[in-house]
Amino acid sequence: MSHDYSALLYDPVYAELGVSATLTAGAMAAVEITVIDDTRSKGHTSSNLETRSVGPGVYVRIPELTAKGIARSAYEGALLTFSGRNWIVRSHEIRGSPNGEDLGEVRLFLKAGA
């Protein structure tokens, strides 16, 4: 693989679309990271009733998390603050990369924090 997708794709995209966020995982000190807000509208239909809300989420570069000492096992339950709102990571999804999954993105699924 001669192409560095981090340098060619992810880093420029995050420089353009990313926003600053503060991640606090477990007892570790808070770290500053860059996230891309992936919060979308979301509805849930039950019988006749459709309730409308949002499905909050962000994309993060795994190399950035790794460089700042955040392992995959620490994702769930981490506190994430960005754009004036507080969230808790409830689940995650590895997105993969042609350079290997450890050099790709992770999508963090969030829930409302305090």
Binding site: H44, L49, T51, G55
Partner: protein, 151 residues
């Protein structure tokens, strides 16, 4: 004019509005935003008679018994949605089944007439949105006398 069906449904809306901490009570609204949660929605029920098997010479305007099946959906969004729905269900059942206006004046249950109110059961449904979301759909049966001459 007396329309028992409408009286029952209107009374149910009043009752669900008295459930503690319920933010909104609506009737037949099929789309609600999260800002209105917890919400209770009364859905007008289907109804049926046994008259298809009664082809006697009974005049068509004589009273007949109706079985109506309204559904009430309670929706909530919170990390503790299971406990919340349980609490809201308890308050819902208590209020519907013991409501004096429904039992004595509208449906006329027990010694007040030949009406009946029954709780048939419920189903639950959960999913993730901003927080954990849950909906509880409760079905009731109302048996009442339809008197065409009163309509």
């Amino acid at each position: 004019m007396t329309d028992v069906r409408e009286d029952i449904l209107a009374r149910l809306l009043v009752i669900v509005g008295t459930i503690p901490n319920m933010r909104s009570a609506q009737r037949n609204n099929v789309e609600i935003p999260e800002d209105l949660l917890p919400a209770a929605i009364v859905f007008d029920g289907d109804e049926e008679t046994q008259d298809a098997s009664d082809l006697s010479m009974r005049p068509p305007n004589r009273p007949t018994l109706i079985h109506m099946h309204p559904e009430i959906v309670i929706a909530q969004q919170t990390d503790e949605v299971g406990s919340d729905l349980t609490t809201l269900r308890r308050e819902l059942l208590k209020r519907v089944l013991t409501d004096i206006e429904l039992n004595q004046n509208i449906v006329k249950t027990g010694r007040y007439g030949n009406g009946a109110i029954r709780y048939l059961g419920c189903q639950t449904d959960v999913g993730w949105m901003r927080s954990l979301y849950g909906a509880l759909r409760a079905q009731f049966l109302f048996k009442y006398a339809l008197r065409p001459d009163d309509l």
